[in-house]
Amino acid sequence: MSAPFIVSQTAGLVLAVVLGLFFGLFLERGGLGNPHKLTGVFYLTDFSVPKAMFTAMLVAGTGLYLLSDLNVLDMTRVWIVPTFFWPQLLGGALFGIGFLVSGYCPGTAVAGLASGRLDALLTMLGIGAGSLAFAIVYPAIEVFYFSSSMEGATLPSLLGISHWVVMVIVYLMAGGMFYVMERYERNR
């Protein structure tokens, strides 16, 4: 049997807690429960967020495509995050503002609360309120929500090139970014 091993519901929920535990541990230890560090990138004072985020993407992405090429993982059974171009562009832009204002994102707010930050609890309540606001206006924006669907689009499939070529481009971009950040931090 090859991965992914879609598991029974009970086993799935136990694994969810275990995987979440590591997720939270690494977020907190990386300083990503701390709103000063989380917003630092936008003021060029702390680059923990892009460093941790792009490292995580590179590690997971490399592993994913490597296991797929080795036939250990069946990529056709992996759920690819669907693309809806304009809603995600606008959603991402709005998200950036909320991230800067609150100092958290949904996962890091939970990590913030778990390190004793009560302001993170308010952000969590706000996220609930914002979800409710979305649900209420949903009928009016449903057409936009489903617009520009590019279901399952990936950069390699769009560009018509090997996923390793894209991966190398991402490595070079991230590597260049890390280099600039390290230099900037040292010279400050």
């Binding site: 979440g20 997720f23 690494f26 460093k51 709005l94 950036g96 503002i97 204002v101 609150s102 409710l132």
Partner: protein, 169 residues
């Protein structure tokens, strides 16, 4: 040097990446976060005012299932809380407080924390996920969704920081 009790973000990032990879391999999907908040809001409203909740089409995805709380992302978020609690406790980082920029009053901080949360909640539903479900999971898959979200988020964060210079700096 208490300030430097965190790990290198590269090490933490590699750990996050391995956790995400394990999630893909085991379950066939990535990690998430924001949908748990939407789920709890929908289910909570369903308890408070079933009639009104059932009128909200978007929440029917939670209210029309048998046991909505037995949800993968919700359990993952509970694990996330425990893991972060463990991390902050072991590092001596745990402290009950309102974390805010030095110059900001507590009242203002409560408003920015809540208000920013509202924007995040709305934006995450519009984008079908947040930094975890779309940016990290999608970005690692080289899915267009992840990269569109990441670029839009950083670009608008920089513009917002330039407009609100005194917010955090």
């Amino acid at each position: 040097m208490k300030k430097n009790s965190y790990w290198s973000p590269y090490i933490a990032g590699a750990g996050l990446g391995l956790t995400l990879l394990a999630t893909f391999v085991i379950t066939g999907w990535g990690i998430g976060a924001s949908s748990a908040f939407s789920l709890l809001t929908g289910v909570g409203l369903g308890k408070l005012s079933p009639e009104y909740a059932h009128k909200i089409t978007y929440f029917s995805q939670y209210l029309n299932v048998e046991a909505p709380l037995l949800n993968w992302v919700l359990f993952e978020i509970m694990g996330l809380f425990l893991g972060a609690l463990l991390g902050s406790m072991l590092a001596g980082n745990f402290k009950l407080r309102i974390d805010k920029p030095e110059h900001m009053s507590t009242g203002t901080r409560l408003i920015t924390a809540f208000g920013g949360g509202i924007i995040i909640g709305f934006a995450s539903r519009l984008a079908r996920g947040c930094t975890s479900g779309v940016a990290l999971s999608g970005g690692a898959q080289l899915a267009l969704a992840g990269w569109v979200f990441v670029i839009a988020m950083f670009a608008s964060g920089f513009v917002a920081a330039a407009l609100f210079r005194r917010l955090w700096s």
